[in-house]
């Protein structure tokens, strides 16, 4: 009787995750806890990093079968909850829906008032393509290199969209790298911005932006959708939904839908996207030298994006006879509105009376369009 009781307890212990779990799974759980710490305590992009981190935790619980890949096995079998949530990522549904919400939240007024800032949004995509080249040199396949390069766009949904199409097995590390670096924009960008500009350039005060009429704001999303989608059809899902969200906002006739897109819808999708992307980071795929390469290349991508934007800003400064402050170029990497705030902060350090925020918002939102176009290019060439 007593022996049976002991045997039952021993069997229970032996079948528990504590005994049967792999050391790699426990290491992943520790990484998940670190990410949760960064999201909760350090507030690094908590809206997405927190669900991603918990997704990592769930995916690595021994024998819980909660990863995004634990689908139906055999006839009449059903997959797990996260497997079904993951289908929204796999089928490319969530990132465009997130873009719908972002569009509904974004004011493209500063961009319409100063259309030249679109060029800064284009220059900041340099990081994407240079990192693609670097990743190829490090023996990543062209598809993997494209997915890694897109981290330089500093746009989480775009990175997830491209990776889910080109290299779904790298979704976990790329999403974590993209969102971590976006949170680190205030640390990564200022040294690069200061190194590439003189104090005199940083002190430049820009002219006030002209007011933008409602009609211009309504026409803008329609024009962008037509032009970009006709030019690069692969960018249509992202740009189309971004501009649809913006049209909801600017038209002023569908306020309820606009509010839903920028609140409830984007929040629900963020939960689904975060958890299911995090749950792709299983120990066997995440703990590899490739992950380390992705983390390093992601940082390079981000830095080169900033370099491209600032250097083009200097070019515009020279071409306009000193009317453009090159610091707004760094906001060309998407990361809305963090990158624009960094431009404002660094500009104000040089000249306390300088207000670059609204000027930097132009390249900042241009970066969102630019990275979506770059994503379309990568998908059309490598997809």
């Amino acid at each position: 009787m007593f022996q049976e009781l002991i045997n039952t307890i021993v069997d229970l212990i032996n079948s528990s995750g504590f005994v049967r779990g792999d050391w790699k799974q426990f290491l992943m759980i520790a990484i998940a806890c670190l990410l949760i710490y960064l999201a909760v305590v350090k507030k690094y992009e908590p809206l997405l990093l927190l669900p991603i981190a918990f997704g990592v935790l769930l995916a690595n619980l021994p024998f819980a079968n909660l990863s995004s890949y634990d689908g139906p096995n055999g006839q009449n079998a059903v997959g797990g909850l996260i497997y079904y949530l993951y289908q929204g990522v796999k089928l490319g549904i969530y990132p465009p829906l997130i873009f719908l919400g972002i569009g509904a939240m974004t004011d493209f007024g500063p961009l319409i008032a100063n259309p030249k800032s679109l060029l800064l949004g284009a220059a900041a995509q340099l990081g994407i393509f240079l990192t693609y080249f670097g990743a190829t040199l490090l023996k990543f396949t062209p598809q993997e290199a494209g997915a890694i390069g897109i981290i330089g766009g500093a746009d989480g949904p775009t990175a997830i969209f491209v990776t889910s199409r080109l290299a779904p097995h790298l979704l976990g590390p790329i999403a974590i790298a993209a969102y971590s670096y976006m949170a680190l924009v205030p640390i990564i960008q200022p040294p690069i911005m200061k190194a590439l500009t003189t104090k005199k350039e940083r002190e430049i005060v820009m002219e006030q932006l002209r007011p933008v009429s409602k009609l211009e704001k309504v026409i803008f999303p329609i024009l962008v959708t037509l032009l970009v989608s006709l030019f690069i059809p692969d960018a249509a899902p992202l740009v189309g939904m971004l501009m649809l969200g913006n049209l909801f906002r600017e038209s002023g006739v569908v306020e309820r839908i606009s509010k839903t897109a920028q609140n409830e819808l984007i929040n629900i999708i963020t939960i689904f996207l975060g958890v299911s992307v995090g749950a792709t980071a299983k120990a066997e795929t995440f703990l590899s030298p490739k992950t380390l390469g992705i983390i390093v290349l992601g940082l390079i991508a981000f830095s080169f994006g900033t370099v491209g934007g600032v250097l083009f800003g200097k070019l515009m400064c020279w071409a306009t006879g000193g009317k453009v402050n090159p610091l707004i170029g760094s906001a060309g990497v998407s990361a809305v509105p963090m990158a624009a705030r960094v431009s404002q902060k660094v500009g104000q350090e040089a000249n306390p009376g300088n207000f670059l925020l609204m000027h930097a918002m132009g390249p900042n939102v241009a970066g969102v369009i630019g990275s979506a176009i770059a994503a379309g290019v990568l998908l059309s060439i490598l997809g």
């Binding site: 259309p115 060029l119 393509f129 062209p142 176009i373």
Partner: protein, 124 residues
């Protein structure tokens, strides 16, 4: 070698396509703005001819009431007065009597102004 040539292709094609599409977009925005301004200008002229009388009436009132050139317009005074009355829940002319408006130096911290501008821009 094959991968390397593909990489160079992707870099060149990618940057060129991104730049060309955004440059095109820049020109389209500028063009749209010019067209809208032209349309607005022509419709504005039409309106001016039909609304001459009311414009003169308003400017006439301004001349009578404004003794000092630095004072804001009568409409602005009326709006500010109404806003103060409404915010204080007071009946017009009962508890508060507005005698004059004077512009005072800027005292709000710059970050507050930047935040307020951003908020207003977000609501526009």
């Amino acid at each position: 070698m094959n991968n390397l040539s593909l990489s160079v292709n992707v870099i060149i094609v990618g940057m060129v396509v991104v730049f060309v599409s955004l440059v095109l977009l820049t020109y389209i925005i500028v063009l749209a703005n010019k067209i809208l301004n032209a349309v607005k200008g022509s419709s504005g002229n039409n309106r001016k001819t039909s609304g001459n009388i009311s414009v003169q009436e308003i400017s006439g009132t301004r001349q009578i009431n404004s003794s000092d050139g630095d004072l804001p317009t009568d409409e602005l005074i009326a709006v500010i007065t109404a806003a103060i009355m409404a915010s204080g829940n007071t009946n017009p002319g009962y508890n508060i009597r507005l005698k004059s408006f004077r512009r005072i130096p800027q005292t709000t911290p710059v970050w507050n102004i930047a935040g307020r501008n951003e908020y207003i821009a977000g609501k526009l």
